[in-house]
């Protein structure tokens, strides 16, 4: 082996070694990531309970899903998480980052405080918020409401309020990361642009609209993609904050990933689980392609 290698040019030797080292992660990812992902497609066309043999059933799993009102509700919930969570969290993160950027003293401490929830595990957070949402006198929020003489709210025990109630800690947890990204984006804008604008007599509103926001677009696009994917894949928070991990009451908070988990690991229905996975994959792919196109337009 060494005799063969020694006869090669340095560049080729380097290439050979690079490929040898790369082969390990490539083999690993093919076996552990890509192959199962491809297999999920064929699995979505089968009926399989993990224990018995696999039966090919064509599009039956997809037909079942299409006819299942709960699946449509779950899909609706998933998009509701996205439609509410994305604008609210990006708006809040931008406002906080914009103001933080102007603060001179204690910026580091404030930034750390905003980042802290991002480091907390979703499971612990879900349980703490579950207690916050309890009726008075235990629950924090209902305690506040009763201080002001406002009627008690059912929060997690209401089909209308439960989803927003689950979303609040999700937004709160994501905020830290988003603020840090926005801050970095803001710091990357050259001071000279602002100075030039001020000399030209531009107001702060005009500066924000003409300089800050356009130059911050890459940060926005990046956060748009990561936050969308995060919200479409929401799982651990819902699993831990709802009774019995069911995404209730009456499926009001159940997102697609929780439904996949239940199909696969509670009901051992691998076919339906894979069909839902394929649907989620298509949604994520569509959103990512759309956003990549947005990026390229710049």
């Amino acid at each position: 082996m060494s005799t063969w290698l020694s006869r090669q040019t340095l560049a080729r030797k380097q290439a050979v070694w690079a490929w040898i080292f790369l082969a390990v992660p490539i083999v690993y990812f093919t076996a552990v990531r890509f192959w199962p992902a491809v297999d999920a497609f064929s699995l979505s066309l089968s009926r399989w309970n993990l224990v018995g043999p696999r039966h090919f059933v064509g599009l039956e799993n997809y037909r079942h899903l299409a006819a299942d009102p709960v699946f449509w509700q779950v899909l609706g919930n998933t998009f509701e998480y996205l439609a509410l969570g994305l604008p609210i969290s990006l708006f809040l993160a931008f406002v906080i980052a914009y103001q933080l950027d102007r603060v001179r003293t204690g910026q580091g401490v404030l930034r750390a405080l905003y980042f802290l929830p991002h480091l907390t595990t979703a499971t612990a957070m879900a349980w703490v918020w579950r207690w916050f949402y309890q009726p008075a006198p235990v629950g924090l929020f209902n305690g506040w409401l009763s201080l002001f003489g406002i009627a008690q709210q059912p929060f997690l025990r209401s089909t209308a309020q439960a989803l927003p109630a689950v979303l609040v800690p999700a937004i709160w947890a994501a905020l830290g990361f988003q603020v840090v990204i926005f801050l970095a984006g803001l710091k990357a804008i050259p001071r000279s642009y602002y100075e030039a604008a001020e000399i030209d007599g531009a107001g702060s509103w005009q500066i924000l609209r003409e300089i800050t926001l356009p130059l911050l677009l890459p940060s926005f696009v990046f956060l748009f993609i990561t936050t969308s994917i995060g919200l479409l894949r929401i799982f651990d928070l819902v699993y831990n904050i709802t009774a019995g991990g069911e995404g209730g009451p009456l499926n009001a908070t159940k997102p697609l990933v929780l439904s996949i988990y239940q199909s696969a690991f509670a009901r051992m229905d691998m076919g339906t689980a894979s069909a839902q996975t394929v649907i989620l994959f298509v949604i994520l792919l569509a959103i990512s392609l759309l956003q990549m196109r947005l990026l390229r337009q710049r």
């Binding site: 082996m1 060494s2 005799t3 063969w4 006869r7 309970n49 993990l50 224990v51 018995g52 043999p53 349980w127 579950r130 207690w131 309890q134 009726p135 008075a136 006198p137 235990v138 009763s146 008690q152 997690l156 025990r157 209401s158 089909t159 009774a243 019995g244 069911e246 209730g248 009451p249 009456l250 499926n251 239940q262 690991f265 509670a266 009901r267 051992m268």
Partner: protein
């Protein structure tokens, strides 16, 4: 260059061939090794280790390799391992999963005459007959579980009730719950008369306990048809829902779940299983008692569930013989006695459960007495069937759907699940 490659390849081949030959050679002692799987739970693992030690001392030619898998992925691990022929020779399974395994040919019937069908019919609790298919047993439990009423002595005393007298009937339960419920001046629940939790044991209590005590039956005799959408079923569910809406002695989700509410001394009563005893005994300052589930019009009914030991199709020849010997050993009266003392689960043999020491035990006794009227639901999909019932209760509480209508919807939904049975 080619030559050096070939040399390397040759060396590798030689080494692996040698290793394969060593592995294939019969070991001189003729020892048989079988593999046993169960989920990780400290007391279960320790007790099984002790049983294995005893078994190996009595059978020096057999070694049992004990594998335990975290509960959360036990079901998937075992489902992946057994069809691949990689897994256990003897394994623990939840009784509700057995149908899938037998249907897929992954379990073999327990060999006769070592496991005599008539003897098992006679010696084990009747619901264990669910493990019998076409007259052959496929698995046997060491231990079984049932439900009981837990009550908080201190809260009973505070409310002026006799702390040593739990409710014996459903009417008494309502009465005692009313007396122990506490609300603040704003009407907020401070102490629940009874902690209710549809994510806990309330669904089996309704399904096999309340519905039967109200004179109904949850399923047809052959288990193929849903039968709870009946006047008796409606009355049973109405009684349960009334605890929240009419009697106002409880709220779903109070202190997040039933166990937490009872454990923290904020609920005077709750319905739970024998497996809860360990956790509650470790709770300082909690003085509680256990009683048989309250009856109605003299009718008692309870729910039983259990984990069974089965022999997989992987075990052949002398491994099969060893596996059968081991399975027989872990279902002896002595093993059951040890299992109850260490794990807190009830003996699966009637004779062991009915000894005075067990039947009169202040905490195990009520569970054991419950076993004689217990039914083990013949599940097709336990998780889906539980969800149907949880939603049925939520529709009544959150959408004000009348109980009879909500039960009718649940009946249609659950029938769909039952119809998927192979």
């Amino acid at each position: 260059m080619r030559r050096s490659y070939r040399r390397l390849l040759g060396a590798l081949l030689g080494v692996s061939l040698g290793a394969a030959m060593v592995a294939a050679m019969p070991s001189p002692a003729q020892a048989v090794e079988i593999e046993y799987w169960q989920y990780t739970f400290k007391q279960r693992v320790d007790t099984m280790d002790e049983l294995i030690k005893q078994f190996q001392a009595a059978n020096p030619d057999i070694t049992v390799k004990h594998v335990n898998v975290p509960y959360d992925n036990y079901r998937t691990r075992i489902a992946a391992a057994i069809p691949a022929g990689e897994g256990p020779d003897v394994t623990q399974l939840f009784y509700g999963w057995l149908g899938d395994y037998i249907h897929a040919g992954l379990l073999q019937p327990l060999p006769t005459p070592a496991f005599d069908t008539a003897a098992i019919d006679r010696d084990f609790f009747p619901f264990v007959q669910g493990m019998k298919v076409d007259g052959k047993y496929y698995a046997l439990p060491t231990a079984v579980r049932s439900l009981a009423l837990f009550w908080n002595r201190k809260l009973f005393k505070d409310a002026g009730l006799d702390p040593d007298k739990p409710p014996a009937t459903l009417d008494e339960l309502v009465d005692f719950a009313r007396k122990t419920t506490k609300r603040d001046s704003a009407g907020n629940l401070i102490t629940a008369g009874i902690a209710l939790d549809t994510g806990g044991q309330d669904i089996p209590w309704i399904r096999e306990g309340l519905i039967r005590e109200f004179g109904g039956t949850p399923y047809s005799a052959d288990g193929k048809k849903v039968a709870f959408a009946s006047p008796a079923g409606t009355a049973a569910v109405q009684w349960y829902v009334d605890l929240i809406t009419k009697e106002k002695v409880s709220e779903l989700g109070f202190l997040t779940d039933g166990v937490t509410a009872f454990r923290s001394g904020k609920a005077a009563m709750t319905i739970d299983g024998s497996f809860r005893l360990g956790a509650l005994d470790g709770q300082r300052g909690l003085d509680y008692g256990v009683a048989e589930l309250p009856s109605r019009n003299g009718i008692h009914s309870n729910y039983a569930s259990y984990w069974v030991n089965g022999i997989t199709s992987k075990a052949k020849g002398e491994k099969l013989a060893a596996a059968a010997k081991f399975l027989a050993f872990v279902t002896t009266p002595a093993a059951m006695q040890l299992w109850m003392e260490k794990v807190g689960e009830l003996p699966a043999r009637v004779a062991v459960a009915k000894t005075d020491a067990v039947a009169n035990h202040p905490k195990y006794g009520p569970f054991v007495r419950g076993l004689s009227t217990a039914v083990a639901t013949d599940f097709v999909d336990e998780s889906a069937q539980r969800k149907v019932m949880m939603d049925m209760i939520d529709r009544v509480l959150l959408k004000q759907t009348p109980v009879a209508e909500s039960l009718a919807i649940a009946s249609t939904e659950e029938q769909k699940v039952l119809d998927t049975r192979k």
